[in-house]
Each structure stands twice: as structure tokens, then as C-alpha cells.
Symmetry: C2
């Protein structure tokens, strides 16, 4: 039993705990035990980008309503032994996060705004009736896992500079009871896998999106669309599978009779268009509705664009000077009809999806039932600049308060 | 690779397969292998009703998109070894069923409309982008598991007559890949646990329900509320946990600005009231909206009531003669306001929840934000008759085409 003053943080005290039971143990990174593998996995010849390939170790922490969080441990990667009646297998009592560990061109290992991911995991845990924890404590444990597996899996040489690993924290209810209730036994784990290259190159020619039909709805007012809970994903796969079979890369999820634009697959979605008054504008859906995930990349793109495109000025991309016009950045509800109208009037300039997995990926086509909207690539320098800056930040070519170096 | 003509059933041919890959192996009960345990689990002294207590064996079948369904096997009950990256742990790619094995007062083991559950599992699998199977083939395998564990866990003596086991078929995606896509590796399993007594006795004084707030939505138009997918459950637990802490037994889920009544927790919900024209009516939400689960007990209650309450006549309950008035049975959208109005005008006679787990359980109170609606118990004989008939059917005291005896 420990009481650490930093757990009285603002983030934790604003919401009533879902599993209020005191005093129980808090998540305590100072108690971490590390058991290293005797049989390291042979490294693949190169970064495959496949999230099937995991690293050597896994971080595991148990929680029970009676005792709170157990001693965290990093141990050799292993399958999980779960009772067939485990809560999450039947009732989707789980949530997760996605972030990346980057090997910079300067040789350093970096995390990008990792506290944001740990905080969002706490928000998701609350939405899934899973136990609370201190996001700072989780971040310390994530750093520890990065120190264990980062150096070998992202070696400090030409094979890995500019590459990254994907980090997946997960929390799930594991009560061995078919009763459908708030979990009283929980497992938190963090693993790392290979990750697609950042920024994504396979999509350089643009993603093709198919809009969801009015009979396919990803999230709802009063639902869980704003949390990264497992339950948001499975029910989307029928529509995604259909879109894939038709040759599309993702579904562009619309909402409501107005057909508001929400997310592109699991990524946030942006357009750049010229307003009817002639002004240049970047738009993405707002967070007020609770329909979309408050993406860390989304927020970063919005913040970067607001900071840098407040006035027309010259920038350098790939060694070439480009002038980026002043651009307004707006978070608001917008509809597929507005996109269609902008395309018709030749005001639609760019569309792109952003997220930890896809980075900043251009969209080249959006198909609605009765029409196909073509989107230009590189009609503005803005998207390309944002993408380049994000890459420069995570790989240490641009100083930023958003990254932290993982000291090995 | 086998092609069995019975798989060309109507049920399978009406919908385009989600995982269309041919020719792959179909689910084939004739290939079942059974390995019995050497160390049977000590039986608890009596039926506990706890779904934490599982029987000795489990039925397991794997599926891959390349090869189809593997050889089914019944083996000693065991934990599942899952990769930490397994699809269902992150994306809730799973669905399940609930049915029961009853030990009749005549000594026979019975299943109640089990093909309905197997068909609904297929519907749920389609909604979850999981592979298709022949429901009849699954039913044969369920029967086999009942034959293996039924005799010992529901002995043919006074300790178990009138008791039942809960049967839980489950299908889940187990691809070891963090990519969010239609699963290409799947596990189907069936297990059995102890089950609450049927009809439920602990709720004889009636459940207390708290209606969901307008900010809490269980399912939505275009969502997955009509399928028994895992994703429908986890996101409801915050509201359920809050209701429990306030002393309620379940949440009565409402939908939309009209506040339509949908489900009571995971059970279907009925009211009996007197219409303004004086006629007696039983109402439950219709299935057209896709918001609620098409319950097997729901359907059975509707069918029983339509068959038997078409005219006023005398019935016997617990040896006593009662007259049950002619009652109309209506499946339609109805609202919490209609229930409130009926209560105010003293037309509300009964409310009850029905499902495999709760059987037919009366509701004694429904609390809306600003008011508490008291519901009488036994203001009509109809609910009690329906409950008694359902019990008589499953325990073999009443002949019915809805039950089948499991021959041991």
C-alpha cells in the first residue's frame, strides 16, 4: 500500500473513479522488475513494417479491485494465458493506445508526446469501466520497456535511423466470470512491434476512400467514439472489408442525415480548401460531439498549422524554397456535401488522414454513392510541409518540446 | 476439403459470405474428437448459480481464411493461450451466444430452441466480420458437449432436477497482428458453467431499473445492437456500474429524443398495460430498428402469449385456477413517457425482463430522472403464467416442439 502525492494530479481528481476502492496499491514504476530473455528473437533482415513482428519483451501489470495495481514486470515476450470465460473475450472490456519509438537521424531514441497517449489511455479506461492509474507512472514504465528493447530493435546505425517501433499499451478485464459486470480483475500490458515507415511511403499516391452508407455508423452521440476502446473497432470491419474488396484503402465514416465527415478508418481526416471568400482554410471535425477520437497527431497538426501558417511566408521543403500562403485552421462539423461542392467549384485542394499509424497520408479519391470526388495531390505546399515537419520532429531533425529522448 | 450438401442451406445462401474463400473446409461435426479429462473437477456441493464455475470440458475449433474450419475437438477445460496481439483483445472481433441445458423433472436433459441460438450466432458472426458456419453443424457439436458434461454436472437425481447449466458458444478473431482488419484466424469455442436458477428466484420481489440518461446510448441505428457482438457490452458498464452503486439492478436503455424503451440490461423488456380503450395489451420493442437483440426468450414469450391469450379463459397456476383475460400482444416502438402516463392513469399493470439468463423476471420500479414509477407485481396472472409455462417447458412438465431431449 503506497500513497504517492503525484497521484493527486488534476487529471485524476476531476472525474469520480470508476472503481472506487481505497486504500489499494497505485501503479508504481519504482517497483518495476525486469527479467531479460535468454533467447533473443533473431532480428529480421530489415524493418518490415509488419505489426506481426514483436520485440523480445513485454510489460505486464495486474490489477484487482481488492488490492489495486501489482508490481510491474518486464519479462520475455510470451503468450497470455486467459480463462475462456475472461471478461474481455465476451464483453470487450478493453481499451488501448498506439504510439511510436523513433530512432532519430542523430542516433537518439525519441517518443512523441507520450504523456498524451498515457492520458488518453486513462480516459479510455474510464469509458470502459476499467481502473484508473497515474499516466505519468505508466509513461515511466513505457520508457523502461523502450530502454530494454529499443537499442537492439532500432540499432543506432543506418539500418534503423529514420525507422520506428510501434508501442501498444492495452488494458483489459480478465475476470473468469460470465456475469457481465465492471471488471474486478484487470491486466495492463505494453508490447512493441515493427511499424510501418513514418511518413508512410506506400500511400504516397494517395488513399482511396469510400464513404460509409447511411446504414453503417461507426460511433454515435452518447456512444464511445471519443475513447480508444476495443468496442469501436470490431463492428466497423464489415464495412472496411467490403471497401477493401472494392479496391478502397479505407472507409470515410460519415454521421447523421447531414452526413458529417468524422474519421477515415481509424485516422483523423482533414481537408484544405479555398473558402468562397477566397481564404485558404484547413478543416477537421471538432471534438465536441464525442464522435471522433481526439488524436495526438490530429492535435499536433492543428497546432503546427496554427503556429506556422498564420501568415504567408517562405519555407524550405527537400531543399527547395516554397511559399506557403496564410491558412486558417478550423475545427468544426463539416459534411461530405461541402467537400463535394468545393470539388465542383474547384476549391478543394487537399485531403489527408493523420494518425500514429498513417502519419500524414494524402487522399486522392473519395467515392460517395453517386459520384467520385478526385482530390489533387500537392495542390498546396501545406500538407507536405506539415508531413515533413512531423517527420523532422520525431526523427530529431527539428527541435521540439513534443519529443523526449529515451536515455539508454 | 469437404463439400457437404447440407451447408447449402437457405440460411447460408441469403447473405454474401464475409470471408468468401473457396474451397475451404466446412464445420464438420462428424470429425469431432473427444479427449476426456483424467482429473474431473470436484463438484461443488450444490448448484451455485455462479457462472464462474465451469464444467470439465471445452469444445474448440479453429478457422483460417486459407483452410476453413479445423477438426472440432472436445478436450479437458483449459485456459486459452493467446498472443498479446490477438485481434479480439484489441478490436473486439468477437461474438457469443447464451443458452442452457436443463435437467427435467422427468430426468431428461433438454435444450430449448438451440438452433435459434446457433442461427443467431451466425448472424452475429456476420456482423462481426467473422467466418460463416452451418448452424446445424454447430448444434450437433453443442449436443456432443452436453452429452459429455451434462450427466455428471446435472446428475439425474433430486440435487439437479429443475436445475440447469449455462452454455456459452464464442467466436473470436485471434490473428497475431495489430493491423485492424477482418480476422484471418479465428477460434470458436463452447464452454458450460453453473447457471442461475430458472426461473430466477432472487428477483422474485422485482428488479429496480434506472433509465439511461440522454448521454448514455447502448446501441444506435446502423450500429450492432441487433447482434450479440462483444462490442455491445463493454461500453454499457459505466452506466451499469453507476446504477448498481445507486442500488438498482439494471439499466433500462432508452433511445433517441423520444426516449424509446429498448432493453433492460442485456434482457428484452415487456410491459402489460390497459389501453385507453380498455383492452389489455402486452408490449415489447419491435425488431425493425435493429436497436435490440432478437431474444429467443422474447420471441417465445410473444408466441406463447399470442397462442394462449387470444381469448379470456381459465388456467391453473400452482394448482389454483385463475382466469386470464384476453390480451393483445404488440411488438412496436414505445416510450418511457407512455409507461409514465400509463402508471399515472393506473393502467400500468406489469413490467418484466426476459432472457436466457434472467428467464422472466418482474420489474417493481423504474426510475426516470425526475420521477419513480412503481410497478405492481402480479396485477395480472399473465406474466406469472408465462413464466410458469416457460419453466414447465424447459423442465419437461409440458410437451413442446421448442425443446429437444439430449440423449445420453
Amino acid at each position: 500500500m503506497e500513497s504517492k502525492p503525484e497521484f493527486e494530479s488534476k487529471a485524476l481528481s476531476t472525474t469520480k473513479p470508476t472503481n472506487a476502492m481505497a486504500p489499494t496499491s497505485q501503479l508504481d514504476p519504482s517497483k518495476l522488475t525486469i527479467t531479460l530473455t535468454d533467447t533473443p528473437i533473431p532480428l529480421p533482415p530489415e524493418q518490415s513494417g509488419s505489426t506481426k513482428i514483436h520485440t523480445d519483451h513485454i510489460l505486464l501489470i495486474n490489477w484487482t479491485s481488492a488490492h489495486g495495481w501489482s508490481t510491474p514486470k518486464i519479462q520475455p515476450y510470451t503468450n497470455l494465458s486467459l480463462p475462456p470465460t475472461a471478461s474481455t473475450l465476451h464483453y470487450a472490456t478493453s481499451c488501448f493506445e498506439g504510439l511510436k519509438l523513433y530512432r532519430g537521424y542523430d542516433g537518439a531514441l525519441r517518443l512523441f508526446r507520450p504523456l498524451e497517449n498515457c492520458r488518453r489511455l486513462l480516459d479510455s479506461a474510464r469509458r470502459a469501466a476499467l481502473p484508473e492509474f497515474d499516466p505519468e507512472a505508466l509513461l515511466q514504465l513505457v520508457r523502461a520497456l523502450c530502454r530494454v528493447d529499443g537499442p537492439r530493435w532500432l540499432p543506432d546505425d543506418d539500418t534503423a535511423r529514420g525507422e520506428c517501433l510501434y508501442i501498444r499499451p492495452t488494458i483489459m478485464g480478465i475476470d473468469a466470470d460470465l456475469g457481465c459486470h465492471v471488471p474486478s480483475e484487470v491486466l495492463l500490458y505494453v508490447l512493441m512491434t515493427h511499424a510501418p515507415k513514418f511518413p508512410a511511403t506506400q500511400m504516397a499516391n494517395g488513399m482511396k476512400l469510400l464513404v460509409s452508407s447511411e446504414l453503417q455508423v461507426r460511433s454515435w452521440l452518447g456512444g464511445s467514439g471519443a475513447a480508444k476502446v476495443s468496442a469501436n473497432y470490431g463492428p466497423t470491419l464489415v464495412a472496411f472489408g467490403e471497401a477493401q474488396r472494392k479496391g478502397y484503402d479505407q472507409v470515410l465514416w460519415l454521421f447523421g442525415p447531414e452526413r458529417k465527415v468524422t474519421e477515415a478508418g481509424g485516422a483523423n481526416f482533414f481537408v484544405i480548401w479555398r473558402r468562397k471568400d477566397g481564404g485558404l482554410e484547413m478543416v477537421t471535425a471538432g471534438l465536441e460531439s464525442g464522435l471522433i477520437l481526439p488524436g495526438v497527431t490530429r492535435r499536433s497538426i492543428v497546432e503546427l498549422a496554427r503556429r506556422r501558417f498564420g501568415e504567408t511566408r517562405e519555407w524550405s521543403v527537400d531543399g527547395k524554397a516554397v511559399v506557403a500562403e496564410k491558412m486558417d485552421v478550423v475545427e468544426r462539423d463539416f459534411t461530405i456535401h461541402e467537400i463535394g461542392e468545393a470539388a465542383e467549384e474547384e476549391r478543394l485542394l487537399e485531403a489527408f488522414a493523420v494518425g500514429t499509424a498513417v502519419a500524414v497520408t494524402p487522399v486522392s479519391r473519395i467515392d460517395v454513392e453517386d459520384r467520385s470526388i478526385s482530390v489533387q495531390l500537392d495542390a498546396t505546399p501545406h500538407r507536405k510541409l506539415l508531413s515533413a515537419w512531423m517527420s523532422d520532429i520525431v526523427y530529431g531533425r527539428m527541435e521540439s518540446e513534443w519529443t523526449e529522448v529515451v536515455e539508454v
